[in-house]
């Protein structure tokens, strides 16, 4: 009886690949209807993930009870737990790195040397880079570059965690001989600095949750002066987004409580170099 197998077989397939192998392995010995649903499951895994027992059974041409028997033969205690495996597969398909990151996190917490910490940061950076190259909106990139290329002076606004990005942008703009101004907090002269900005200028503002109040406040002040803002932030609900003419959503993975900056850096550099290139091009056109 099927229950025997369920109790005997300690190893219930937990991931899709194991499950698939198990099914293929047993396929010969399965009863007709069970084999039918097994074939259907491997051919239409998405349907299993999303459908109800009744709808799947109907599509596969069997009774719901058969579907449950199928699940039980594999060692699950019902259709629901079988379905979990198919759902998990869909989630993981999107982010293969996340799994690795979790493992590393556990390892690092378990106290397995400092190499694990390092690997964790590398993995977080890789994940973030993968993520951004999948999700970056090309139109936004073009818009942001056009906007910045027209600016007389580019102001760069970021505090705390985002500050390193700002300094890198300022460095790169300087090297490209693009006039820019880093809005620093050290001297406390930010308000005065902002007062110089005009609508002919532009701002790159960077802030992630928890948003530094000063950044938000300064972004508001400067946008009220009619200066267009390009924002890099982490959620559509970021307070920065509402002041921005163009904004980017960047999801950085974190490790040990510190988020990666790699994706933000890559985007920042693309903006910077993009502006440099655009200016060179239009300069050439004008001269010709």
């Amino acid at each position: 009886m099927s229950l025997d197998r369920a109790t005997m077989d300690e190893r219930v397939p937990r991931d899709f690949e194991t499950l698939r192998a198990t099914i293929l392995d047993r396929r010969e010995s399965l009863p007709k209807r069970i084999a039918q649903i097994a074939a259907y499951a491997l051919d239409n895994p998405d349907d299993i993930a999303f459908g109800t027992a009744a709808s799947i059974a109907a599509s596969a041409g069997v009774q719901p009870s058969t579907l449950i028997r199928f699940a039980q033969q594999l060692g699950f205690d019902g259709f629901t737990s079988l379905q979990q495996v198919f759902r998990e597969r869909l989630r993981e398909r999107n982010s293969s790195y996340d799994e690795r990151l979790l493992a590393l996190r556990a390892k690092a917490e378990g106290g397995a040397g400092h190499r694990a910490i390092f690997d964790g940061f590398v993995a977080a950076a890789s994940t973030s880079l993968n993520d951004i190259s999948r999700t970056l909106d090309e139109t936004h990139l073009e818009d942001a570059i056009s906007l910045l290329a027209r600016a007389e002076t580019i102001y760069v606004l970021a505090k705390r965690r985002s500050y390193p990005v700002a300094t890198y942008i300022a460095y790169a703009l300087g090297k490209l001989k693009i006039r820019n101004q880093l809005i620093e907090s050290a001297a406390g002269l930010n308000a005065e600095m902002i007062a110089f900005a005009t609508p002919a200028d532009a701002v790159i503002a960077i802030s992630f949750s928890p948003y530094a109040p000063a950044t938000i406040e300064e972004a508001r002040a400067i946008s009220e002066r009619g200066v267009p803002i390009v924002a890099i932030t982490d959620s559509s609900f970021s307070p920065l987004a509402q002041f921005a003419r163009v904004w980017f959503e960047v999801a950085e993975a974190d490790f040990a409580g510190f988020r990666s900056l790699s994706a933000t850096m890559a985007l920042a550099m693309a903006l910077t170099v993009g502006v440099g290139e655009k200016r060179r091009d239009s300069g050439r056109k004008r001269r010709a």
Copy 2:
């Protein structure tokens, strides 16, 4: 009332992108709890796709009924039909992922728009990360962390291109409540700052070719005072290496004339968090 909107508004968002746009559009006018679930939905779309109304509501910190009201405000007749949109998104993302990637690559190569620049920086960062995780010397990592963990104050020394890394280290050390001092160039008081350092302190110095003369000069001065230095640099011939007690060789790939910082950042974070952990551990031991 919400029903009015549902009947008036013929266009219920059918695909995820439209839905997203609709939510962002209305976000200002949404009540607090509804906004809360809206933010959660956009940030964790996978959870919406798979969860039950109750489980999602719990994760987002609202009542199930609020979740349903949210769906209704958007014109759906209930949570279930809202969920369909999130499920559809997962199906499509998976099925078309490969072909989308191919299209993207072809476009970047052919059109050579600004997307290509962005991809270049992402590639440079990925390469650098791969590289460093292959070549990092674990012994050096342990040595450096031990050395830094013993320091009373950690001085951070970097200019120009490496400066962003220094600011990030300073930020992270601060968050971990580890005493540190960023040696900045702004006020021109570096010599005085350095004069405070003693052999009981330590320095993290970062410099890449072409080595900023100031960094080298300050590294020399501080090492002559007997302060141990951990260096991150790009070659065994680096002038920094000769002053350093421990040094790391990091090869960053470059694109469009700018080198990535991702590998350096990952290493810097590993050092920082490693020191934090080491201190916590030995503190615990001492107390016990």
